[in-house]
Amino acid sequence: MFNTSLGIDDLIFLAQGAGMTILVTAIAVAIGTVLGIAFGIFRYQAGPVLAAPVTFVLDLFRSIPLLIQLVLANAFIGTVLRLKMSGFTVACAVLSLYTAAYCAEIVRGGIQAVPSNTRRAARSLGMSWFQDMTHIVLPLATRIALPSWIGLALGVMKDSALVYVVQVTELLKSTQILITRLQEPLFLLLICGAFYFIISFPIARFGGYLEKRWSND
């Protein structure tokens, strides 16, 4: 096992895979968060009836395996719409919506956690809805939502391992390619797992720390 034929080129190949994982995650989390905040506020403001269509669609993203979402989106864009779209674009689009679906839920929870009396007090001081949102709700809701959001971002990074179905070679896929060539599954998988763990673990710990620290007051 320690007599590995893993060369420097292979390590670069793995690093490229890791870069792809991070890139896809960053794009999906960035777009997904913006969309998620919008959807979350909309769902909160519009009330259950008006927001029902949005709720339903977002719920779909959370109740169907990501693998199927990716395959479906790829088939729809490629064979039904006949658009030439790279696997990377499809992967980012699907992952963004997937992130947005979870993020909307977190945002809604955060807003709901702000006591309505606090908000009424703000409005009766003459603040506009927008001022109330930015000066009162945002800081308070962030305390509730940020730890969950960190968890979500890490979850998306782990789930991005599935984008291989749309021909995006991210970390796990590049590991698998190397396994097929070098026939050293355990060693390569350990490298791959270590990479995910090293990124995810400290951030998860930080999220846990924030949650603990912010929950006391």
Binding site: S63, A161, P185, Y196, S200
Partner: protein, 221 residues
């Protein structure tokens, strides 16, 4: 509107096969959930035991399960154990992978739930003459399971969704595997996977709805 002719009929003819696959999916998810709860309880016990090595091992399990992709864990069960000469069927690898994942996440939920149970509960049990294990099993455990009922439901949904990863280790009897196999014959990718998606959606809705009914029945008091 589209330059594409949908062949829903062709896909719907495969529905019985796909429903058989859905049954396998639910079976795996249920089995992994039951095993996951058992292991999570053991992990929680190990972390509470105050026995350093045991507690460190349990924490290691939980952190690895929570900080690596589920797909990686399934690969480890299939290819990783394979390099020790342990060759498992896709079904077993998938079950081990998901169980490992479930146990990790559930153990963390249980830890959260434990914080809500006052220390005095254990002490009361101990002062009635119970051993530490008895106090945990009879006093703390039931309350812990009750508090973490909702997270357990979520985890069950996750387990169902995770079964779709089995296809990567050659699983072909679960819903995703069956759909993939049918797709390889007919190439009606969109239609077949849309139906699979609908079945998955139905399964998750049944689980969340069923759990709500169950909770209303179980937690009346």
């Amino acid at each position: 509107m589209f330059h594409y002719t949908f062949h829903w009929n062709q896909a719907f003819q495969k529905l019985p096969q796909m429903l058989d696959g859905a049954l396998v999916t639910v079976e795996i998810a249920l089995a992994s959930m039951v095993l996951g709860i058992v292991f999570a309880v053991l992990l929680t016990g190990a972390r509470l035991s105050g026995w350093r090595t045991l507690s460190a091992l349990a924490t290691g399990w939980v952190e690895i399960a929570r900080n690596t992709p589920a797909l990686f864990q399934i690969y480890m069960a299939h290819f990783g154990l394979g390099s020790f000469g342990i060759h498992l069927s896709p079904f077993t690898s998938l079950l081990i992978g998901i169980t490992f994942n479930n146990a990790g996440y559930l153990a963390e939920n249980f830890r959260g739930a434990l914080k809500a149970i006052p220390e005095t509960q254990t002490r009361a049990g101990r002062s009635l003459g119970m051993t530490g294990v008895q106090a945990f099993g009879w006093i703390v455990l039931p309350q812990m399971l009750r508090i973490s009922f909702l997270p357990m439901t979520n985890q069950m949904v996750w387990a169902v969704l995770m079964t779709s990863l089995g296809v990567t280790v050659g699983m072909n009897t679960d819903l995703y595997g069956v759909t993939q196999a049918l797709n390889a014959i007919s190439f009606r990718t969109f239609e077949l996977f849309a139906i699979a998606a609908a079945i998955f959606y139905a399964i998750t809705k049944i689980i969340t709805f069923g759990a709500r009914l169950l909770a209303a029945r179980l937690f009346r008091y």
